[in-house]
Symmetry: C2
Subunit: 336 residues, 2 copies
């Protein structure tokens, strides 16, 4: 098996090295063909590398940085002053070809801005999108994008997300002709904002794209679509609302007894992909490289999932396939 190299921002998220280093160690032991380049602040990172016996690991190279991007930082500020941050350096390694994918649990806005600056988008794509999986009632998954990278989107951007999502569904879900839909407040053509109605017309006009129309929030889990497109604000609220319902159900209080235990176990399993502690890793797609955004509150198992997802994306060659799709069927003609 050919070696794969992933660059990790070890400082991102709510915890940093205490979470990211054990996850890195586990990934290395799971995947013998995986190489890691780790970026972070000297004292804290090296202490944890030492504790997890990664300081002199043959498949690990460490690059100490002098800065960290905080969650409070504005993307513009991180862009201007974060050149030596662990997040930026990890993206640089991806851009230079040292690494084939990058994982960070840091500030989404900053990651998005830096990734555009450092990697650039594929030709024909103006904005990358953050995409994630949603479990479906009868099993399997649908893809939802954007879940938070773009607060507001015009019709053309939404339509491009549809095309990017189509490629992701082909390569990640293995669906040859994925059903693409737009998230709206009603199924009727007259419903929703101008941008969404126009995006529907753009998607319907794209040859060989299986656009199936509008879908409402209660359709996100109903198995009626393989790709669901919306702007980042709506997608983020929808995803986190699902997590909220999941948590409400898991909050069975301190009920004891076998039935409650079984119930909690069953719901946990059923909701595992809505539970950020278990499902994890949304991908920034539309870039010239694979960037995986781990949940900020991710624990070690969740950060490990994000690393495994990055490896899978390298193997799926998603960036190349998206570039190819836009190269062969440019959208701008439809966008005007």
């Amino acid at each position: 098996m050919p070696q794969l190299t992933v660059a990790l921002d070890m400082m991102g998220g709510d915890y940093g090295p205490p979470v990211t280093v054990p996850a890195a160690a586990q990934a290395l032991s799971l995947l013998p063909h995986l190489k890691l380049i780790l970026f972070g602040l000297e004292p804290e990172l090296s202490a944890w590398l030492n504790r997890c016996k990664l300081l002199h690991h043959p498949r690990v190279s460490v690059c100490f940085t002098s800065q960290v991007v905080t969650n409070e930082q504005k993307p513009t500020h991180a862009l201007r002053y974060g050149a030596n941050s662990s997040m930026r350096k990890a993206l640089d390694a991806l851009a230079s070809g040292e690494a084939a994918a990058c994982v960070s649990a840091g500030n989404t806005g900053a990651l998005m801005a830096m990734a555009i600056r450092v990697l650039n988008t594929v030709p024909g794509v103006d904005r990358p999108a953050l995409i994630t999986r949603l479990p479906q009632a009868r099993g399997g998954y649908a893809l939802l994008l954007d879940v938070g990278a773009n607060i507001s989107c015009d019709a053309t951007t939404l339509a491009r997300f549809g095309v990017m999502g189509e490629q992701a569904a082909r390569h990640v879900l293995g669906i040859s002709s994925p059903r693409i839909s737009l998230l709206n407040v009603g199924a009727e053509a007259s419903k929703g904002s101008d941008a969404i109605r126009q995006a529907g017309q753009l998607l319907a006009a794209i040859p060989n794209l299986n656009y199936t129309g509008f879908i409402e929030g209660d359709g996100l889990f109903a198995g009626r679509a393989d790709v669901i497109v919306c702007d980042g604000f709506v997608g983020n609220v929808a995803l986190k609302t699902s997590e909220g319902v999941a948590r409400m159900l898991l909050g069975l209080g301190e009920r004891r007894g076998l039935l409650w235990k079984m119930l909690r176990f069953w719901i946990k399993r059923r909701l595992s992909h809505l539970n950020p502690d278990q499902y994890n890793g949304a991908s920034l797609i539309g870039l010239r490289g694979s960037v995986v955004k781990s949940h900020g509150s991710a624990g070690s198992p969740a950060f490990l999932n994000a690393i495994l997802q990055a490896v899978a994306e390298i193997e799926h060659e998603l960036p190349a396939s998206i570039a190819h799709r836009f190269d062969t069927a440019p959208m701008d003609s439809h966008a005007r």
Copy 2:
């Protein structure tokens, strides 16, 4: 107990009289002080009134109309050509004082447009909002608005929703100083759209209003806020997404056996207020009258709930209290 009169649009929703007439009959038998004015098309409505023995009921007056507003109709079209529709006539009865509240399961956009035209908003309110209850993890409810009446909202409108929601929480939930929050993609002040950030500043500047900042989607059910404000697109998606997760969990397939039965029963109860077949009735607030929008897919029990909610709103005198709040603490000074 003083008599209360409610006007019912009998033709709205996916089913019409087969659902609305039995619900009306049940409401009359539950509430001896309730009077109903029923609006609908002659043949269908009278057939069902006959079947449910309401044709000559002492507390029922029937008004046959010549038109119905369909779900596909655009609000502007309904406004211009729907003067003799059951929806419009029911609102007219509210405006003339014949009825103290109005219930319809019809086209939300049309109901909103007609209600503004016929009833007008209270002074200081430019747009009515559709408000509903959300169950909270540790019991009790929060109020979410707008859930679909206004696709997009500027900062001032969002701030006004906060003030209207405060009054609703006082009168409907009985909370003296409700915690008001804005739904956003992050808790940090830098997150979200300009409109939401500005709305946060407006709400923080309102005297005697308990504004507690931004809340994310996973906080909708966490008991951290009593009133959650967002635009109608986001609120509609959030509400329907919750319903979708609920349905996914209720879709336990055809599993048999006592455990699964208990499980299904327990989840059904836990999720009853996310299940449109059981919870029902969102209110249009900010108008000079009580208008309750029943879920379009509502069955008889759900439509009955909407009628009971209308009765409760008459007793709470919500429109008057909202008018009083805007009269004593006008918002426009903050809005500029």
